[in-house]
Each structure stands twice: as C-alpha cells, then as structure tokens.
Amino acid sequence: MSVIATLNSFPLYLICGSIIAFVALICVVFIIRAYRAGIAMGMDPKILKRVITSSATFPILPSVGILLGVIALSGSLGLPWPWLRLSVIGALHYETQVAQAAAESVGIGTLSPETMTLSAFTTIALLMSICIMWGMVLSVFLNKGYLKKIGFKNSEDKTELNGKKKGGFGDLAMSAMFIGLVSAYIGSYIGGFVSSNGLFTFSGDWVPLGVVLVSALVMAFFVYLSEKKKKGWVDNFSIAVSMLVGMSSAILFSLI
C-alpha cells in the first residue's frame, strides 16, 4: 500500500472524524446554552433565530473555499488529516506553511507525495498541532482574567467592523513578518533555479517560480474583482482558487 493510501485508511478517518465530532458537540452545547440564556435574559427569540439563520448561511461559501484547501493538501498528507486541521483551529495558509517547515525539518525537503513517509507525516501532524494551539492555550489561562480586566470597555474603539485593528506598528510588524516569510521561500526558488546545478548555471527547477507567478496573477485578478468591481464575495475563494490554479499550472509546466 502506498504512503498516501495508508494516510487515507479507515483508522485515520476514525481518529480525525471522532475529534471533529467532539468539536461539533461543543458547538451544539454552546448554541443550546446561549439560546436558553438569551431567552432567560429577555432577548427577542425572533432576533436570536435570525442570528442563527444568518450565521448558518454566511459560512457556506467560505467553507467551500476551505474544502478546496483540503483537496490541495490531500495530495501529500492524505484526506483525513487536512480534513481535521481545516475543520478544527486551522487555516489554509497556516497549515501549508507549517507542513512545509516540518517537511524540511524531517529531511524530506518539500511537501510532496513522492517524498512523504509515514514518520514524516506523523512529525508534520504533530508540528501542525503544536504551532497552532497557542490561541487555545492563551484562552485557557488568560481569557477570564483578560476580559475581567478590560471589562469589555472600549473594545469597539480599537477595532474596525471587519475585525482589523486600526493603524499602529503592530499591524505593520505582522505584515512585515509575513513578507519576510514569503521572501525567504521565493528567494529559495530563485536560488534553486539559478544555482542548484552550479553557481549561475540557470538550469535548476523553474516550475516553483512559474507556479508562484501564476498564483500571484490569479490573486491579482481576485483583488481586482474584489476592490474595483466590488465583488467582495470572491475573497472567500481567492487564496484557495489561486493555489489550485497555480498548482494546475505545475502540471502544464512539467510537460514542457
């Protein structure tokens, strides 16, 4: 049985499916508690039902985008694990970066079905869990005290409606951190093409660079649609579809 076939085996579906089912149960518990509390506190049941209905319809489109991300990762990590990671805590851009870093740490180089081993997979899975868990850890230890201390006051002053904090170096530093991260990888693709077979031979693998270019162009198109044509709904798919088109271009590039 191939590594990917093993990663798609029933026991892995059972483990990942059970955890997802547990998280679904948590959601049900919180819905019931919040609804009952709202009624007990005198809130209008019609408004509560509207909140539930709109919150149930809003995530359908983004969820399809997330599903595309599951497909993108399933080629190298199998289906069950990306299904779990993108159902619980995860986000597509995060999962892919961490999986790639883990692939390098275990010595298989790139996140690829050809180089994947079972040991590399469990290591990658553990690193993905450890890297993303800090929001939950902070919540366990600090949520109660933090909310008590700020008393929820002025929180609206600090945030805009889309949830992004206004101005300040914090925002710029976060963007800069991601710019540094992306620059390191794109630099490695450029270096790989120019010098991997000897300094300045320009005979290395150019496919990753081509893929970077294609997915950037697709993302530029989505940004154009979102900002110039006011089709904000495309944001739900922009990263996943850019990735899938970029990945598809690799098939064409490899035939050249």
């Binding site: 993108l86 961490v98 690799a250």
Partner: protein, 222 residues
C-alpha cells in the same frame, strides 16, 4: 434571580466549560499524531518538531498572542473560546460575529453581545464542519484520480502556489519593505544553494530584516 445575577452565573459556567473543552481539544489534537503514529508504526520525530517550531512556530506563536489580544474582547467569553477551538478566525468567524452583532443591534461588551457572538460562532463552526464532512464524503469516489501520477506535479507545488498568492497580497502596498528581504534572500540562496534545504530557518533573518525596515518606515512617518 435577577438578570445580572443570571448572566454572572451563565458567564462563570461559560469560562468553566470553555476551559474544559479547550483542554480536551488540545489533548486530542496533540495526542492524535502519537495515536496515528502507533497505528502506522511511525512515531513523530520530536527533534524535527522542535527544529520546525523554532523556524516557523515562533511566527505563529506571536501571531496567536496578537489575535488573542484583539479578538477576545470583540467576541466575548463563549465566542472566543469557540473561535480559538474552531479556527478560521479572520476569514470567517470574525466577519460572521460582526454581522450577527449588527443584525441583533447589540454593542460589544454587553451581555447581549456575549449571547449573539456565541450563537453566531457556534452555528458557523457547525455549518463549516458539516460542509467539510459532506465534501470529504463526496471526494471519496475521486480518491484514485487525486492520486494519479499526472496530478503529482500539482501536489508537489502546493507551497509555491500558496506563497505566490500570499506574495501578491502582502507585497502590494508594501514593496518598500518587501524589496530588501526578497533581494537579500535571493542573493543568499543563489550564492549558497545548499541553504535551500533549510529555507524555514531563513525565515528568522528574513522576517527580522522586514520588521526592521517596517520599523524605520513607521518611525519616519511619525
């Protein structure tokens, strides 16, 4: 029991349940790779996990702190415990909670917002779980196709595809910051090609350069 006492009691139990569920989810998530490893006969390499965490995990650790500080007051107790368990905050949970808050006409920091935010995040998480479960079920018949050799170059290029999309998003409007780490990293990888095997370690100096330049630009603007 009056309204305030009721809410106080509700909130106290929310923190209790939120903590208990978060700890159980943490144990399940960290335990799953070990369980899968014991079934597959391949345990995780702890040394490689530590190395990977130092290179890329620290970036996300800082990101988690920022997200916790910003989003917790917006979402309230129940909403934030749930949001950090279920993830996809910026692309789904936050906009959904804000929309629900607008529909209900409640203000951040009020008991009503606590109720609405929890309802909104729990419902949207549940829908995502159902959509993904249905999607995974529907993907079963095409598993063979997904594993066919002709598609393998696509799956081998997941990471460049992600970074191409992210590069456009982050570089536009920030080219003054991006040009330095991009040029320096490219030159480094061209002159020392063996560094390609440890690209994730190069995120640290690259990120440091970008943050340093961002700080200089920020200070000059002030």
């Amino acid at each position: 029991m009056n309204r305030n006492d009721y809410f106080e009691k509700y909130n106290k139990k929310t923190h209790f349940l939120g903590r208990v569920f978060s700890v159980i989810t943490l144990v399940l998530l960290v335990g799953a790779p070990f369980l899968m490893g014991s079934i597959l006969g391949a345990s995780p390499d702890i040394g490689a996990v530590a190395k990977g965490f130092i290179s890329v995990g620290l970036v996300w650790f800082v990101s988690s702190i920022v997200e916790f500080l910003i989003y917790t007051p917006m979402l309230g107790a129940g909403g934030s415990y749930l949001a950090f368990i279920t993830g996809n905050l910026i692309n789904m949970k936050i906009p959904c909670a804000v929309m629900a808050r607008d529909i209900a006409g409640v203000k951040t920091g009020t008991p009503e917002n606590e109720i609405v935010s929890t309802l909104s995040i729990a419902t949207s998480s549940l829908v995502t779980i159902v959509v993904l479960a249905l999607g995974v079920l529907l993907l079963q018949p095409i598993q063979g196709f997904l594993q066919s050799p002709v598609l393998q170059p696509a799956f081998a290029n997941v990471v460049p595809a992600l970074f191409g999309a992210m590069a456009y998003k982050y570089f536009r409007g920030n080219m003054g910051i991006a040009v330095f780490p991009l040029v320096i990293m490219s030159l480094l990888f061209i002159l020392v090609p063996s560094l390609t095997g440890s690209t994730s370690m190069m995120i640290i100096p690259s990120g440091g350069i970008a943050i340093g330049i961002a700080y200089l630009k920020f200070r000059n603007k002030k």
